[in-house]
Symmetry: C2
């Protein structure tokens, strides 16, 4: 991959992030606009490989926090990220050397790149999930024992709130009502770690993976259909490896409600011919896809609805009746499938009664080109 | 007054605080228990007059925050106050020289005394309201332009949240949902000020006034009826001065609900003979007492229901059908009646449509012995 992110790379990063956002993470278009204008002003961003990260480097994790439906209405601001980041640095007495994304999905992939541009810092080719998830504690950072706190939340009024609890699940339960009172979204900085800790706590290579996935989708000159290009790149990416076209059809029903700081809902997709249909349930991100009572894929594995024609990912807030969609499932990064990880990101953590079964087992065959 | 608060003074302080709590502020009995045990362990607490406060003294304001109905169920802890106070001191780099109560009502009068005992610091003969109020911004500190933030909230799990906003009204709106997520109550430290600032921002003499009021009520050997003793001491106290027995009767209806971190409700009191009755509305504290549509007293003036026999104040959460009560009204401290103050503590700020009219004007006569 290129070792610098320029304006020309942002559309690929945004498109790949939309796929890895699995329906959530906020509209990447908003993040892409922010990212392009910030890079135009401050210059390209160096991408640092995890292997090149010094053990004593100060790694700064920033993110937008709130329901995706709000993040598309309230424009995110790199200045608000700066308020949160500088407050954390001042509080703990450090100066960031490199920026990392909390999640590689939606707006939270592009936001850290924009902030790295503003600070003229490199961005790490890594993140804390390898996809998007709705909760603060659902990160490989937390799975590896890195606490989210102290965590700073900042909003567009320059207001800061600092959370200090050793229990990251509790930090989530404090942050959620707080962010509602702060205007339904906030920029956060937390999960402070050094390079040595980051090396055992992050998903390696996810930023370049997102850009590669986006580039495949955006390769409109290709003779290969978009969904096939998408499946091929996922299967060629070690981080994901197994990918499946779980269903193809049109959206026949969408129900969505924003409550408690989350978007909950489901979408039904019916075959263009015949009576076959599947249902996708989501909480910010798509959680499970089922044909009747049969699970086709389930968290932490990735489920994304893409436009069948263009291959472009459709966030849950953009689902509309009549859309022609393909439901794509792919394998979660290995770090989300360990026993320790499943205590934090299993289906039960999302209120689902079905146990986690790996997508490649459910679908009983691994594609030939799975790495 | 005595210049030290000993165990023997606590019942008077608690009783006076119950009266000045005007129905809210948390059950002073809980605070009294805490205060006695802390003084027993650490020794008496020196009371510092405002006149003796050095201009460069660091004044530490601590309080319990949450609905009174919760504060009586979840015992308050001086250790949690210490977590909040020490965090604020460490954050801002100061060491407290003297402790002040945010409000002189209910548990928030005794809690700072207990904490002063623990820290072996004096407590200031003053507070930030001169009564109790339900909201963070409703203080003479805020009226005088002292910001509440940075403010630390701490709970029994050692969790801390630091609020940083220049707008104290906003701090209230952030703290309220947060405290619900922290377990419905929290100990807070904030409103940092030095001695010079305190001198223009506090209600002077309220701690000794509370003890004097409590002593009058507790003077059970006196031949004078309790309510008469209470009225006499209020009229003799410059801070309040005017006091009225607005109504006497029995409780015939109480409605109370804890919602959004507050206790809202009302109480109807009917005359023992005849059909005369009044209604008292409250939000944590009693806000207005009316006979039909006629206001007899309204915030910021004080309205407290006391047991007609014993003169002891009855918190809203302890109101019961059939209780024999006298509704006592008295003049608010002058600092709550200025134009600047009424922007923050007028009836409209509590959602009432009636304008503020001073109790001594409504009741058309000032008692002879008003100072």
């Amino acid at each position: 991959m290129n070792r610098r992110i320029t304006e020309a790379d942002i559309d690929d990063l945004a498109e790949g992030s939309a796929f890895l956002g699995t329906g959530g993470g906020g509209d990447p278009y908003v993040g892409a606009l922010l990212c392009k204008s910030t890079i135009k002003r401050h210059g390209p961003v160096e991408v640092m490989s995890l292997a090149d990260l010094p053990d004593d480097a100060e790694v700064l994790c920033v993110a937008a926090f709130g329901a995706p439906t709000v993040l598309i209405e309230k424009l995110i601001s790199v200045e608000d990220v700066d308020v949160a980041a500088r407050r954390l640095e001042r509080l703990l007495g450090f100066t960031a050397n490199v920026v990392i994304a909390a999640e590689i999905g939606g707006v939270n992939s592009t936001l850290p790149v924009a902030y790295a541009a503003m600070r003229r810092l490199p961005v790490l080719d890594a993140d804390g999930i390898g996809r998007a998830f709705p909760n603060l504690q659902m990160t490989t950072f937390n799975i590896a024992g890195v606490p989210a706190c102290p965590m700073v939340l900042a909003n567009e009024h320059g207001e800061c709130v600092i959370l200090e609890t050793a229990d990251t699940l509790k930090a989530e339960s404090l942050a959620r009502p707080l962010v509602a009172a702060m205007g339904a979204s906030a920029m956060i900085a937390g999960y402070r770690m050094n390079g040595a800790t980051a090396k055992r706590a992050v998903v390696d290579g996810s930023l370049s993976a997102a850009m590669a996935i986006g580039a495949a989708v955006n390769a409109v000159q290709s003779a290969t259909p978009a969904v096939d290009r998408l499946l091929a790149i996922l299967r060629a990416t070690p981080l994901y490896g197994a990918a499946f076209r779980l269903f193809e059809g049109k959206v026949v029903d969408v129900e969505r409600r924003t409550t408690g700081g989350f978007v909950f809902g489901h979408c039904e997709v019916a075959a263009l011919k015949g009576s076959d249909r599947v249902r996708v349930d989501f909480q910010n991100e798509n959680l499970v896809v089922k044909r009747g009572e049969t699970v086709l894929a389930i968290v932490p594995d990735l489920i994304t609805m893409v436009d069948t024609e263009s291959g472009r990912a459709i966030p849950t807030e953009s689902l509309r009746y009549g859309q022609r969609v393909s439901v794509i499932g792919c394998r979660a990064p290995a770090a989300l499938r360990t026993e320790a990880a499943l205590k934090i990101v299993s289906p039960a953590q999302f209120g689902l009664s079905e146990p986690f079964t790996p997508i490649e087992i459910i679908n009983s065959r691994l594609p030939d080109d799975t790495v």
